[in-house]
């Protein structure tokens, strides 16, 4: 058992990065005139949502990440900051995917135009509340000294003592929160929509990069 416990948050971070980036592509595909069915997209989001929901729920209820001596606020508190948002957004993504599949089939069977905005907007409203929680995680993480990696963790350890990693992770939470909070209001305003889209892209890139680094770092850090 590694010092920090069971660290399956590597793939969780990868999914957290993939989802915003894929949502951007989906937003373009879904609104393209004469497009094909979006059922494949819905099932894909359902699969990613299921992954986040299962791992986030397990992390929230069992706290598999352990405190590491010598590292400030690492890593037991990550059970809250990783686990709970993953559970919340994962279940929203999962049910949103089901709603897309069901709505597209039902409306097309009746010859009614399929309005993607009307189907996903309730989930975006719920996501906005989660976005507020992400803002508070960013603020509290900085305030209470989170995201300071153990010096012997590969890659992240290079930043130990510089304060860069806490700022990086706080921005990742902050941009994800900004995307979640602005997304429900995007259809009413072009500027808000662009803020949501750019935030989504930046958040996805930040999570993707950190996920790729921890695949290397956590393997190197696991001395078993």
């Amino acid at each position: 058992m590694p010092a920090q416990g069971v660290t399956y948050n590597t793939t969780m971070a990868l999914v957290a990065g993939a989802v915003p980036l894929l949502l951007l592509v989906f937003a373009r595909v879904a609104q393209r005139p004469g497009r094909a069915t979006i059922e494949g997209w819905a099932w894909m989001f359902g699969a990613l949502g299921l992954y986040l929901f299962i791992t986030g729920t397990h992390m929230t209820l069992t706290w598999p990440l352990q405190h590491v001596d010598g590292a400030s606020h690492c890593c037991a508190v990550d059970n809250i900051t990783f686990g709970e948002p993953a559970m919340y957004f994962g279940v929203l993504l999962l049910f949103g995917a089901f709603a897309l599949v069901r709505a597209e089939r039902a409306l097309l069977d009746r010859g009614i135009p399929f309005d993607v905005v009307a189907v996903v907007r309730p989930f975006l409203y719920a996501g906005a509340f989660g976005g507020l929680g992400l803002f508070m995680i960013a603020v509290s993480g900085l305030q209470f000294g989170m995201w300071r990696p153990p010096p012997d963790e590969p890659i992240a350890g290079m930043l130990a003592g510089t304060g860069l990693e806490p700022i990086y992770i706080a921005f990742a939470y902050g941009f994800t929160g900004l995307a979640a909070v602005t997304a429900p209001f995007a259809p009413e305003g072009r500027v808000v929509a662009r803020i949501a889209a750019v935030s989504l892209f930046v958040a996805g890139m930040l999570w993707l990069f950190v996920a790729l680094t921890v695949f290397y770092g956590h393997i190197g850090f696991t001395d078993v």
Partner: protein, 79 residues
């Protein structure tokens, strides 16, 4: 009716020629990022440390993915 995508605020109907031009350009950009990134990774790995090399490699993969995400968003699965 407005011509902007309700989800991202950018124009909904990018012309086929524009989409093809951007698609080709971003694919080339992704290729350049991969090739140059791998060279920089190898140099950093050998000269400085494996950690730095792995960090740069992570950035190369993320940057390539970002370029391809924008490409696929612009193309939006057109034929």
């Amino acid at each position: 009716m407005s011509n902007w995508n309700p989800f991202d605020g950018f124009p909904s109907d990018v012309g086929d020629q524009d989409a093809a031009r951007w698609g080709a350009g971003l694919a080339k950009l992704a290729l350049v990022v991969v090739v140059l990134g791998l060279v920089v990774t190898a140099v950093a790995w050998a000269v400085f440390s494996a950690e730095l090399g792995a960090g740069i490699l992570s950035g190369v993969f993320a940057g390539t993915a970002g370029a391809l995400v924008i490409r696929q968003a612009i193309l939006a699965e057109r034929e």
